[in-house]
């Protein structure tokens, strides 16, 4: 993969990937590292494979594999502490341009609450929710990225939504 090609991917998918990294990791620093490592890995792999039409799914697979490998060697207690930090950081990152109307503030608060609830989910529920709703991957692509059967994806989405409905009942 040439640098120019990588630049195109960063331009096309950078925001999608970064949003995913912010929600799947537990600190801004981890999100930055995962984001950077994903594109560097894509660059490495780009010398060995041809990235076909579904580049976004491929990118998500790379990100998820890196996240899983990284998580296996991290102290779990550090990550639990990191959850609260990331919620505030996510809130700060939501863009605010110009004066906010009451409606905009309510929408912003709603986003903050929903994202906080999603971030609190365990990995097996959080990841399919992010891949399906944030990254707009099809169920088939989510299954391929997560390397589980489609039926498992459906079950996990259903259970995740059940938990979220209970935690966000004031918004529904």
């Amino acid at each position: 993969m040439k640098q120019e090609e990588l630049e195109n991917y960063i331009y096309a998918y950078g925001k999608d990937l970064y949003s995913f990294c912010c929600c799947v990791t537990h600190s801004r620093q981890e999100a930055d590292d995962l984001y950077q490592d994903t594109f560097l890995k894509m660059y490495e792999l780009g010398e060995k494979v041809v990235i076909r039409s579904n580049a976004k799914s491929f990118m998500m697979s790379v990100a998820l594999n890196l996240y899983r490998n990284h998580k296996r060697k991290q102290s779990v207690r550090q990550k639990i502490i990191g959850i609260n930090v990331s919620v505030d950081e996510v809130a700060d990152s939501i863009a605010c341009i110009g004066a906010e109307t009451e409606e905009m503030m309510m929408a912003k608060e709603e986003r903050r609450l929903v994202r906080a609830a999603v971030i609190q989910l365990p990995d097996k529920y959080r990841i399919p929710i992010l891949l399906y709703y944030m990254e707009n991957l099809s169920l088939q692509d989510v299954a391929a990225v997560m390397q589980v059967p489609e039926g498992t994806v459906k079950t996990r989405l259903r259970r995740a939504k059940k938990i979220l409905r209970e935690n966000l009942e004031d918004l529904l």
Partner: protein, 397 residues
């Protein structure tokens, strides 16, 4: 106005986090440096020490087992690849079982490399999501290598072709129905990667060394689930064996676990707890009215009364695209999305839908939300006379 959870999630999770410019510049700078160093790096990678070449020649003349030792990563190296230092150490220790047995099956060569078990032998320690407490991590870890018998490299995990030929790998216990007792029901998961064209799967399950006196198997069959066609299970003797008429992969190994590790009392207690957990839902809750309505509806629905109680959503009607899998099954693909945002996509095996090959109707999976019957959607497949399959989503009338 009441909001739907799907709309809420789609709106709230719209990507909004913009990576800052310095982060992107850092990536591009790193790439540029790598490109500048590329020539020197390639030369280093291609250099193969003469001693290694000589050793390879010697080993090529040896038995298949020795070839396995040379050709494949060791279990410790597999653990190292997954960046699990504790597991790497465990596989290097005296408790590890190194097997290196190869079977050829369904066009693939399957090698059982080794196994190790114990409490906290992995760096990865699961945490209870509710309490934050570390869970008991008494597990067994087993590694198999899978490669094509014709020498074609297995597709890397990052390629589109990866996953086209899935494998179900699990431990089984002599005397327990493999359809019920396997990786899916016994605290299992797996990690997988491809290196030098060989797939390595590290599977993890509840530590079943307590069953050592009964006998433990490791099975590898084609597909994403246990395939009862792949193996014969004799409920009288408890013996598992390969079905010789099976056309896919159905390797079966005996894992030589030290019988001194058997603990019949612990084994019985484990089985009681496991079976008790099956009779409870994973998230125990009372069925509310919405659930009862939808479940009752689906329970009394048949292909014969389908049009009496339900109506097709014509916008979802489609002819499934069909393709053959590597083990000869016909895979049908379908997908739809309604204006409400509800929808699905999936792949299903024709031979499982219509085992006798006769034209007809099959009612598939269904979904509903807290609104119950009014939100119920279910899949219907119609095998036509010309062999095509029509998919239609239905809803109750």
């Amino acid at each position: 106005m009441k909001k739907d959870i799907d709309r809420l999630l789609k709106t709230a999770l719209t990507p909004m986090d913009q990576p800052y410019e310095e982060l992107n510049n850092r990536i591009l700078l790193e790439v540029k440096e790598r490109e500048n160093m590329a020539g020197r790096k390639r030369r280093v990678r291609r250099r193969i020490p003469a001693a290694a070449i000589a050793a390879a020649c010697i080993l090529m003349l040896c038995s298949g087992t020795a070839l396995a030792v040379y050709k494949y990563l060791t279990p410790a190296q597999v653990a190292e690849e997954t960046e699990d230092g504790a597991l790497q150490e465990a596989f290097s220790g005296n408790d590890a079982i190194l097997v290196n047995e190869t079977q050829e099956s369904g066009g693939f060569r399957i090698t059982l490399l080794g196994s190790v078990a114990g409490r906290n032998v992995s760096d990865y320690i699961p945490v209870d999501a509710d309490t934050g407490e570390m869970e008991d991590n008494d597990k067994i870890y087993t590694i198999v290598a899978i490669e094509r018998a014709d020498g074609v490299q297995m597709p890397d995990t990052s390629t589109d072709a990866y996953g086209d030929t899935p494998f179900y790998v699990s431990h089984y216990i002599h005397g327990l129905d493999p359809n019920q007792y396997s990786i899916m029901s016994m605290g299992g998961n797996y990690t997988e990667f491809v290196k030098d064209g060989i797939m390595y799967r590290l599977l993890e399950m509840d530590n079943i060394e307590m069953f050592a006196d009964r006998g433990i198997y490791v099975g590898v069959n084609s597909g994403s689930f246990y395939d009862s066609e792949a193996y014969n299970y004799d409920a009288n003797t408890g013996e598992m064996s390969c079905n010789e008429n099976y056309t896919g992969v159905n390797a079966l190994f005996k894992l030589p676990v030290d019988t001194s590790k058997a603990d019949p009392a612990a084994a019985e207690a484990y089985l009681k707890e496991l079976q008790a957990s099956w009779s409870m839902p994973e998230e125990p809750r009372e069925m509310d009215a919405a659930d009862l309505d939808a479940e009752e509806f689906m329970n009394r629905l048949t292909p014969e009364n389908l049009d009496e109680y339900a109506e097709p959503i014509e916008s979802t009607r489609q002819t499934c695209t069909a393709e053959k899998s590597s083990n000869g099954e016909t895979l049908l693909r379908y997908s739809y999305e309604l204006e409400s945002g509800a929808g699905t996509s999936g792949t299903i095996v024709l031979e499982q839908l219509f085992p006798d090959g006769k034209s007809g109707v099959n009612i598939g999976s269904y979904s509903y939300n807290e609104k119950g019957l009014s939100s119920l959607l279910f899949d219907v497949f119609i095998l036509n006379e010309d062999g095509t399959v029509t998919f239609v989503a239905y809803r109750p009338k």
